[in-house]
Symmetry: C2
Subunit: 339 residues, 2 copies
């Protein structure tokens, strides 16, 4: 059996996460039992939710245990199988974690999913045609539920989730305005993803400036907003929100000191008769087939070309993850594990 | 035609509203045109929403114009009619305003509604079997949508809206916990309205204390919350909110300086996968018949005995209204105009 490089979480962050919270180890992959398959990971997905798991605090998911392999989505190929439905060479998506190989009980439902890489490159099953894409789909379709001609905004618009929100909203005939950090990301959002406009929040640092930029970009107000960030962005959106507008709450950052950022004026929820709803995509597995079908078609046909930032080698995962938290990635952040 | 005492709004509040914002005038009621009826108001309703109308700022409703009769719900009797469907002696509910008489175009839909005072005393058509009751019904039934056994909390629980929320939630098999100010109101909420418990927020002034009191009163967490107040109450409820809990946002107060009170930790909306929804009952006229039927039955059968605070004479309306804003009323605040 092959050697397996793994990244463990060995301590919890005090404030900002650092590379010292992680440790690289090397182990032997175990021999397969009946029903198990050995998967060689080609790509590891890095996602913002992982930061929450590093804490030992109440959230919707249990914390990542210390001294175990960091959780994470992976796409790879079966290299050995003792399960009748899987054969060497099969491409599979799963939660293999921050490591080069994983041994999976293929009988357990939901742990492995075979994917077709003939039209969709494997890495996209971790992004636009995977969890981030379905996250976008659920929040947009099930919470915002936009009508043609309505205006939809999305923060972190160049990211894996935000880009899919915009493309899906354009498919539904909406005016779509992104919010992203820096001119390169905004140009990508407008020119390559096809958003109607994109606001560079770095050019509009305070609430008033951001609200004015939103007013200019959304002359008919905002009917739906997909929130990946929170804080000032959400406060500004609420100032431009139309009556009966909907906010899908997918991600919220904390302030610099780790304290939660307040919502400045919640009475706008009443004044604008808004609906604000938080969700976790893994609690809505019933939508995955429909969502993945639409997303796969968009990517497979080339109408949606998701951007990726790729780090190389499992050793680079902690540094790449910390960069993701600082917004240094551009599109979906991956780690390529097979050269 | 009779003389008519009226209260006008003559200036907008700078900070706190005062009696100087109002002026009493006396006018002659005009002669009736075809299709009009003259209504003598027996009761005027005083409601928190009126404070918002006194401002000249963006909200869901236009501001109250200066030097015109303050808007307000009224119940009274037709004393003269030039409309075939209304006869002297008919009891009618309408938006007659802060005055003793009103002349109404009875042909315009929605301005007048005949009511049956044989089982329900007329004043309750301004409270439990009127707009406040339907407000409670909509937020509870259409937004919170509680299941039997779930826990529902409501702030301003002894008030016209809050008391109806609790009674309706008990009808639906919920555990119901009120939040009110002072031992008398809490005793009424528990002993007369039949809530399972009531928290005196004056005994739990800060967020931590209020959250602990909620934890004790809601051992299974909070599944639905009806918010009439906002601020610390809402922050505390969010700390005890269950996964997939719903908040119906009906009223929000501002801080002492007139600035909006922030929501301290909006990331709890995501962590608890909450849905928070603001609403205005007048935008949901389709539910009124169903809601009024249930509320009328509860009041008519004596299972719901709403408390009223009654001021006497139109001259007392400004002072009574300012008392309502300070929570000095106990239950529905009315002004009795006919002795």
């Amino acid at each position: 059996m092959p050697l397996n490089k793994q990244i463990l979480l060995v301590s919890r962050p005090q404030g900002e996460a650092t590379v010292d919270n992680f440790r690289l180890v090397e182990t032997q992959t175990p021999a397969l039992a009946d029903g198990q398959v050995l998967v060689r990971h080609h790509y590891l997905s890095l996602d913002p939710y992982m930061r929450g798991r590093m804490n030992d605090s109440k959230s919707y998911a249990a914390p990542q245990p210390l001294n175990e392999v960091m959780i994470g989505g992976t796409v790879g190929q079966v290299v050995d199988s003792r399960h009748p439905r899987y054969a060497p060479g099969d491409w599979v998506v799963g939660m293999g974690g921050w490591q080069q190989y994983s041994v999976v009980d293929a009988e357990q439902p939901g742990l492995l999913r075979k994917v077709d890489v003939s039209r969709v490159p494997p890495s996209h099953y971790l992004g636009a045609v995977g969890m981030p894409g379905v996250t976008a789909w659920y929040g947009l379709v099930k919470i915002i539920d936009p009508k043609p001609g309505q205006t939809v905004t999305v923060s972190a618009a160049s990211g894996a989730v935000g880009s899919a929100v915009g493309v899906l909203a354009k498919q539904r005939g909406c005016r779509v305005v992104g919010i992203a950090g820096g001119p390169d990301k905004c140009a990508y959002v407008r020119d390559e993803l096809g958003f109607d406009d994109c606001i560079d929040y770095r050019e509009h640092r305070d609430l008033g400036a951001l609200a004015r930029a939103l007013k200019a970009a959304c002359p008919n107000g905002i009917d739906g907003h997909f929130e990946n960030v929170g804080g000032t962005v959400l406060d500004a959106v609420m100032l431009r929100a139309n009556a009966f507008s909907r906010v899908a709450l997918c991600g919220m950052i904390a302030g610099y000191d780790g304290q939660p950022l307040p919502m400045l004026n919640p009475s706008l929820i009443l004044i604008n008769r808004m609906r604000i709803e938080g969700f976790i995509v893994s609690e809505h597995m019933e939508v995955w087939p429909q969502a993945l079908a639409e997303l796969g078609e968009l990517v497979g046909s080339g109408r949606f070309r998701p951007r990726e930032t790729v780090a190389h080698g499992i050793e680079s995962a902690p540094e790449a993850f910390l960069g993701l938290l600082k917004g240094r990635n551009f599109g979906k952040q991956l780690v390529k594990l097979v050269d």
